[in-house]
C-alpha cells in the first residue's frame, strides 16, 4: 500500500504522468488519479477522465461476492471490531468481481466530481450519462452525475432528469437541486 499511496500522491505533483495510469489495473490508482485530475485538471484533461470511465463500463456496482466473517456479523458492527477476523467467500470469484465490489461507484463519483470541479461537462457525455442514470441504483453515482450535469447549463435535459427516480435522500435531493439550478440557468 505504501507504494500505491506514493503513486497517488505523485499525481498531485506531476501531471505529466497522468496519461500513463488511466488504465492502471489497481482501482485505487484510477480513483486517486480521477481525484487529482479534479484538483488540478482543465478542460483539456477531460479525455483522460473519459478513459478512466471506459474502464468502468460493464462493471457491476452491486455484485457482491458473498463474504462471511467468522467473528462478527457482516454489517456496521464490524466498524468497531478489532481482533482476529477471518473472512471466507461462499465460492471463488474472479478478480474483476472482487475489485468491482471493493471499488463500487467510487471511480464514477471521482470522475464526475472532477468534471464538476473543472467546470465543463462534455456535450458528448450528456446522453450516455442520462441514460446510465435511468437504470443506475447506486445513489452515490447518480448524485455525483447530477452535480456534474449542472455544468451543462442546459435546460433541455430537465425532462430527462425528471424521468430519473432517486433511490434515496442523497440522489433524490441532488436531482431536485440540479433541476432547480438548470431551470434558473
Amino acid at each position: 500500500m505504501k507504494e500505491t499511496i506514493a503513486l497517488i500522491e505523485s499525481f498531485f505533483a506531476d501531471r505529466n504522468s497522468w496519461e500513463k495510469y488511466v488504465d492502471h489495473p489497481d482501482w485505487h490508482v484510477r480513483y486517486g488519479l480521477a481525484v487529482a485530475i479534479g484538483e488540478l485538471g482543465t478542460k483539456e484533461d477531460i479525455p483522460l477522465l473519459e478513459k478512466i470511465l471506459k474502464m468502468e463500463e460493464g462493471r457491476s456496482l452491486f455484485n457482491q461476492p458473498g463474504a462471511h466473517f467468522s467473528n462478527c456479523t457482516d454489517d456496521t458492527r464490524l466498524s468497531e471490531y478489532i481482533g482476529l477476523l477471518t473472512m471466507h467467500f461462499d465460492r471463488e470469484y474472479p478478480e474483476e468481481v472482487m475489485q468491482a465490489w471493493q471499488c463500487r461507484g467510487r471511480i464514477y463519483q471521482a470522475v464526475f466530481f472532477a468534471v464538476y470541479k473543472i467546470g465543463y461537462f462534455p456535450e458528448s457525455w450528456k446522453e450516455k450519462t442520462l441514460e446510465f442514470m435511468k437504470t443506475c441504483s447506486d445513489y452515490a453515482v447518480v448524485a455525483s452525475m447530477c452535480i456534474a450535469l449542472r455544468r451543462t447549463n442546459d435546460k433541455s435535459i430537465i425532462p430527462a432528469l425528471k424521468e430519473i427516480e432517486g433511490t434515496d435522500f442523497c440522489s433524490s435531493f441532488e436531482l431536485t437541486k440540479t433541476i432547480r439550478i438548470l431551470s434558473e440557468a
Binding site: 499511496i5 486517486g32 456479523t73 464490524l78 477476523l85 465490489w101 471493493q102 442523497c170
Partner: protein
C-alpha cells in the same frame, strides 16, 4: 504526521498525574483501574482502551498491547472492503477510523514504531480514509445534509487530514481531505437547529451526536488556533456546541437512563460528553448526571468503544454539588418538570412524515419517572409482536439484506404507541406532510407546568381540528395533572392514552401500576363519565420488560373537550444499605450451587459487584461468576436489589432458590428488586449465593455490546404506598383525597383556551 504533542491531549504530564495519582474513593481511580484491568486481562476484548493505557503508563507490556491493537485494526481494513456495512453504511466506520488514527499518532509520538512501520501503517490508514470516507463525505449533499452521518464523515476527514498534513512528510491527499472536511464541519454544526436538537431522538443525541460534538470543538480549536468554541455561534442557525451538550445532558433522566424519545426506547447514556462539559463549565447539572451515570463498560456508544477513556481524560478536577434547576424547557423540543423525586417529560419535537420510525409520531407524549425509576414505556416492539401493525404502516425495503426485499411494519411509531391524545381512537395517526407539526409551547415555572400545542400535526389528519394542546403540571410537588384541550368543528371522541411499564395492579380508584423497582403510579380521571380501558401488550416495547400497559381515558364525542388525568406516584420499596465484600469465584464449567459454595469457601477474592469483576479487581476476564455473602437483615428489610446487567442470573437465599427469570430482559437496564423469602426474614439474616455471567468483551450480543454488572447488591424495605381514594377538579379547585390525607389546590385549567 503531527509531532511534538499528543493529539487532543493538552498536557500529557498533567493527565498522567491526574490518572496515576488519584487515590481510592476517587472516581478517576475507579475508572483507571477498570480500564487498565480490562485491557490487560483481555487485549482484544477491550482493544479500544489499549492505546490510552500505553500513553499513560509507558510500560512495555502496555505498549506491546497497543501496537497489537493497531496492527489488528490495520490488518482488517482490506477485509472490510467486502463488508456490506462498510459499503452501505460507511459513516459508521468513519469516526472509529479517525479515532484509531489519533491513537496511532499517540503511539508514533511515544516513539514505538520504526520509520518503516510508521510509513506502512500511515499509508494503509490514509488509503482507507481516502477511498471510503472522503468518497463517503462527497455522497452527502452539501451543505444541506446535516445529520450524525455527515458529521462523522466530515469530522473524520478533518482529523485524519490534519494528522497527516503535519510534520515533515505532508500528504497531499490528506490536505484535500482536511480542506473539504474543514469546509463542511462548521456548516454541519451551524445546520443544527438553534435548539441544539438534531431531531433524531434522545439516543442519537446522546450516543451518536454526544461523542462527536466535544471532539469537534477540540479539533476546530486546535486547527483554527481559537479558544472558546464551546460557546461560539455557528451560522446559519447560530447554534452553540454548548447548547447541544446541554440538550444531551437534559436527555438523561434521574436514575441514569436516557429518555425513551425515539424507537430505541430506554438506553444507557455515554459519559464522555458529560465529563467534557462538566470540566469546561464546572456546572452542577453535568457533574450530578456524571456522578449518577451507569459506570459499567461502554455499551452502545457511537464511534468506538472508548467512552470510558475520554471520560477519564475529561473527568473534572472538582465536582460541583450545588443545587441546580432540574427542569428544562426547549421550545422546539419539549420540557421537563422535576421536583421532589417526581419527574415528567413532555415532548413535541417533529416526527418523520409518513414514516415515523426513529422520529416517532409522539406529539405531547409524556414520560413519567419517580424516585429515579422510569414509569412510562416507549420504544420499539419485539419482532413477534403483532400489536400496532396497521394496514398503512407496512414498508418494503431493499437495504436491510443484500439482493433481498424485507417487509416490516412501523406502526408502533404512530401516535398509538405513545402517551398521547387519540382522536376517535385512531392509533395509526402520523404526520403526513412536511408542514409544521407544532404551535407555540411554553413553560410556567410558577405553576411547575409545561404546555405543548400540537394542533398542526392533528390538523394534517383531521381538517376540522382547531386545537390540540396539553399542559402537564406538577401540583404541590406531589402529583401530576395531565390536561388536554381539544377543539374541532365536528364532534370527536378524545382519548388520553398512557403507555406504562408493567405490572397492572388492583386500584380502588382509577388505574394503578407498580413497577418492580418499588414505585407505583396511580392514574385517576378527573372528568366524570370518562371511559377507562386497560390493555396489557406483550412485546411492546422490547425494553425494559418486553411488555407494557396501555391505559385509555376516553371522553364522549364533542366539539370541545378538556380532559384531565391525575398521575400520582408513590414509593412501595425504599432502598437501604449496600452489602459489600462478597466472596467470588470464576468458573469455566457450569456448577451446581453446592459445588459453587464449596469453592467459594476456599476463595480469598472479594467483590462489591459495582462493576464486572475484571474491572473491580485484578482477575481474569471470565464469563461465569459465583458470589457469596452474608448479611444481617435489619427490621423491615424485605427485598434484595440485584445489580444492573446480570446475565442468566441465579439467586439463592439461605439455600432457597429464587427465580430470576422475570428479570431476564429488564436487568439489562434496571435494578431487580427480589423479595427475600419469609423464612430468611424471620431468621434475621440472609446468606446470599448469586450467579451471573458477565460480558467478556465489547462485542457480545451480536457485536452491539452488553451491559456488565453495575451497582452492587443492596437491601430494601417495603413500605405502604400512599394511594388515592378520590380526586376531582371542579371550579378551579383540585381536590385529592388519599389514605394519608386530603390535598386541595387551586388549579387553572384550559377551559378558556378550548
Amino acid at each position: 504526521m503531527l509531532e511534538n504533542e499528543y493529539f487532543l491531549i493538552d498536557d500529557i504530564e498533567a493527565l498522567r498525574r491526574k490518572v496515576l495519582e488519584a487515590g481510592p474513593g476517587d472516581q478517576r481511580n475507579m475508572l483507571w483501574n477498570a480500564i487498565t484491568r480490562s485491557v490487560r486481562s483481555s487485549v482484544f476484548g477491550f482493544a479500544w482502551y489499549a492505546p490510552f493505557v500505553a500513553l499513560i503508563t509507558r510500560e512495555p507490556r502496555d505498549i506491546e498491547n497497543a501496537k497489537a491493537v493497531i496492527r489488528a485494526y490495520v490488518d482488517k481494513l482490506d477485509k472490510m472492503t467486502y463488508c456490506m456495512g462498510l459499503q452501505f453504511h460507511f459513516w459508521c466506520f468513519a469516526f472509529p477510523h479517525a479515532k484509531i488514527c489519533i491513537y496511532f499518532q499517540w503511539l508514533c509520538e511515544l516513539g514505538v514504531y520504526t520509520e518503516e512501520e510508521k510509513e506502512e501503517i500511515s499509508a494503509q490508514l490514509l488509503n482507507y480514509q481516502f477511498t471510503n470516507f472522503y468518497y463517503g463525505m462527497r455522497t452527502k449533499p452539501e451543505p444541506e445534509c446535516v445529520d450524525n452521518q455527515t458529521l462523522s464523515l466530515a469530522l473524520s476527514n478533518v482529523i485524519v487530514g490534519f494528522l497527516f498534513t503535519q510534520g515533515d512528510k505532508k500528504s497531499r491527499i490528506a490536505e484535500i481531505m482536511l480542506r473539504d472536511g474543514l469546509k463542511r464541519v462548521p456548516e454541519i454544526l451551524g445546520g443544527f437547529p438553534k435548539s441544539g436538537y438534531s431531531g433524531e431522538g434522545s439516543t442519537y443525541m446522546d450516543v451518536v451526536i454526544g461523542p462527536s460534538i466535544w471532539i469537534t470543538v477540540e479539533v476546530l480549536e486546535r486547527i483554527w488556533g481559537k479558544k472558546g468554541l464551546l460557546y461560539a455561534e455557528f451560522p446559519p442557525s447560530m447554534v452553540r456546541p454548548i447548547d447541544m451538550l446541554k440538550l444531551i445532558a437534559d436527555s438523561w433522566m434521574p436514575g441514569g437512563l436516557l429518555l425513551p424519545w425515539d424507537n430505541y426506547g430506554y438506553q444507557i447514556g455515554i459519559r464522555s460528553a458529560l465529563a467534557y462539559v462538566a470540566k469546561k463549565t464546572g456546572e452542577a447539572v453535568y457533574c450530578d448526571k456524571l456522578e449518577h451515570a451507569v459506570w459499567s463498560y461502554d455499551v452502545g456508544a457511537g464511534w468506538a468503544y472508548d467512552d470510558l477513556v475520554w471520560t477519564l481524560v475529561h473527568f473534572p478536577e472538582k465536582v460541583s454539588r450545588d443545587a441546580y434547576e432540574k427542569g428544562w424547557f426547549v421550545p422546539e423540543v419539549g420540557g421537563v418538570v422535576c421536583k421532589n423525586d417526581r419527574y415528567v417529560f413532555q415532548m413535541w419535537d417533529d416526527s418523520a412524515p409518513n414514516y415515523p420510525t426513529r422520529m416517532n409520531c409522539n406529539p405531547n407524549s409524556v414520560v413519567f419517572n419517580a424516585y429515579d425509576t422510569p414509569l412510562s414505556a416507549d420504544g420499539a416492539k419485539s419482532h413477534d409482536c403483532r400489536r400496532f401493525e396497521f394496514e398503512n404502516t407496512w414498508k418494503t425495503v431493499n437495504y436491510l439484506k443484500m439482493n433481498e426485499n424485507t417487509s416490516f411494519n412501523f406502526g408502533e411509531g404512530c401516535v398509538g404507541g405513545h402517551s398521547c391524545v387519540l382522536i376517535d381512537g385512531n392509533e395509526a395517526m402520523m404526520a403526513v406532510t412536511d408542514g409544521p407539526q407544532t404551535d407555540v409551547a411554553h413553560c410556567a415555572k410558577d405553576e411547575n407546568s409545561v404546555t405543548g400545542d400540537v394542533t398542526p400535526v392533528y390538523r394534517q389528519n383531521y381538517g376540522d381540528i382547531e386545537l390540540v394542546r396539553r399542559k402537564t403540571t406538577l401540583v404541590g410537588e406531589k402529583f401530576f395533572v395531565v390536561e388536554d384541550a381539544v377543539r374541532s368543528e365536528k364532534k370527536h371522541s378524545v382519548t388520553a392514552r398512557f403507555v406504562l411499564r408493567p405490572e397492572l395492579v388492583k386500584a380502588d380508584t382509577g388505574v394503578r401500576i407498580e413497577v418492580n423497582q418499588g414505585v407505583a403510579l396511580q392514574l385517576v380521571p378527573l372528568n366524570e363519565g370518562a371511559e377507562v380501558r386497560t390493555e396489557e401488550v406483550i412485546g411492546y416495547p422490547r425494553k425494559p420488560e418486553n411488555k407494557s400497559v396501555l391505559v385509555d381515558f376516553t371522553l364522549p364525542a364533542a366539539e370541545k373537550t378538556v380532559s384531565r388525568v391525575l398521575a400520582f406516584p408513590a414509593r412501595t420499596v425504599r432502598p437501604m444499605d449496600k452489602i459489600k465484600g462478597f466472596k467470588g469465584i470464576y468458573t469455566e464449567k457450569d456448577l451446581t450451587a453446592a459445588e459453587a459454595e464449596k469453592l467459594l469457601g476456599e476463595s480469598e477474592m472479594t467483590f462489591d459487584l459495582d462493576l464486572p469483576p475484571y474491572m473491580e479487581k485484578d482477575v481474569p476476564v471470565c464469563r461465569k461468576w459465583w458470589f457469596k455473602g452474608k448479611t444481617a437483615l435489619p427490621e423491615g428489610a424485605t427485598h434484595l436489589i440485584l445489580p444492573i446487567g446480570f446475565i442468566n442470573g441465579r439467586l439463592f437465599v439461605n439455600g432457597e432458590e429464587i427465580s430470576l427469570q422475570p428479570f431476564a430482559t429488564s436487568a439489562n437496564l434496571l435494578y431487580s428488586y427480589v423479595e427475600i423469602p419469609e423464612a430468611a426474614r424471620r431468621a434475621g439474616e440472609a446468606e446470599i449465593l448469586f450467579f451471573s455471567e458477565v460480558p467478556v468483551d465489547h462485542y457480545e450480543n451480536g457485536g452491539d455490546g452488553r451491559t456488565g454488572l453495575f451497582g452492587g447488591i443492596r437491601l430494601a424495605a417495603a413500605e405502604e404506598p400512599e394511594t388515592v381514594l378520590s380526586a376531582s377538579c371542579i371550579g378551579g379547585k383540585l381536590c385529592v383525597k388519599t389514605d394519608r390525607g386530603s390535598y386541595e389546590y387551586a388549579y387553572k385549567g384550559m377551559e378558556d383556551e378550548a
